[in-house]
Symmetry: C2
Subunit: 76 residues, 2 copies
DNA sequence: CAAATTTATTCCCGATCGGGAATTTTTACT
DNA sequence: AGTAAAAATTCCCGATCGGGAATAAATTTG
């Protein structure tokens, strides 16, 4: 289940609309530019991670990152 | 609790080491370049989201994105 | 339906990402 | 301690990100 930029784009757009926020407002409140927001919501894979994280936070979208659990097999 | 690029960097680096994988190997298996991996593990906020997602997936790091819950107040 | 609003595209352009190689520095191993 | 391995830096350079404005297109509103 890896996330793709397109999926993130969809979540961002949907959340933004649900909050009744325009792309322009989101750009302002997240400290980015309109250009970036449009690209992000288009699912562009080259958007900068730092800005993506800021936008997610601005929209109240929570992120959880879970490393794999370590299982050591002494297969001897 | 927003994630920062630095936090992601830390998780990536820690996971990679736990898996006993070198940066070079990770670059190869994730289809990126050594340069990118080093930048990512340095917490550079300008790394491309698409590549970040691929690396996370390659390392088996799971991501969860949770939009805010919608609560409609008819405050009338 | 027309007007207003929102979104998307285009343009300009400075800054820089990132692939890949070479080199240097740091870390790990014996 | 010395060596090998890993990581980081530097370099080159083509490609392009993204801010911001203007414009076009699409969508929403009344």
């Amino acid at each position: 289940m890896p996330y793709t930029p397109e999926q993130i784009a969809h979540i961002v757009k949907k959340t933004r609309k649900q909050l009744g926020v325009t792309q322009k407002d989101l750009a302002l409140t997240s400290g980015t530019g309109l250009r970036f927001i449009i690209d992000l919501e288009k699912g562009k894979p080259t958007c900068q991670i730092g800005k993506v994280l800021v936008v997610l936070h601005t929209l109240g979208i929570k992120l959880e990152i879970m490393p794999p659990t370590q299982e050591k097999y002494d297969g001897s």
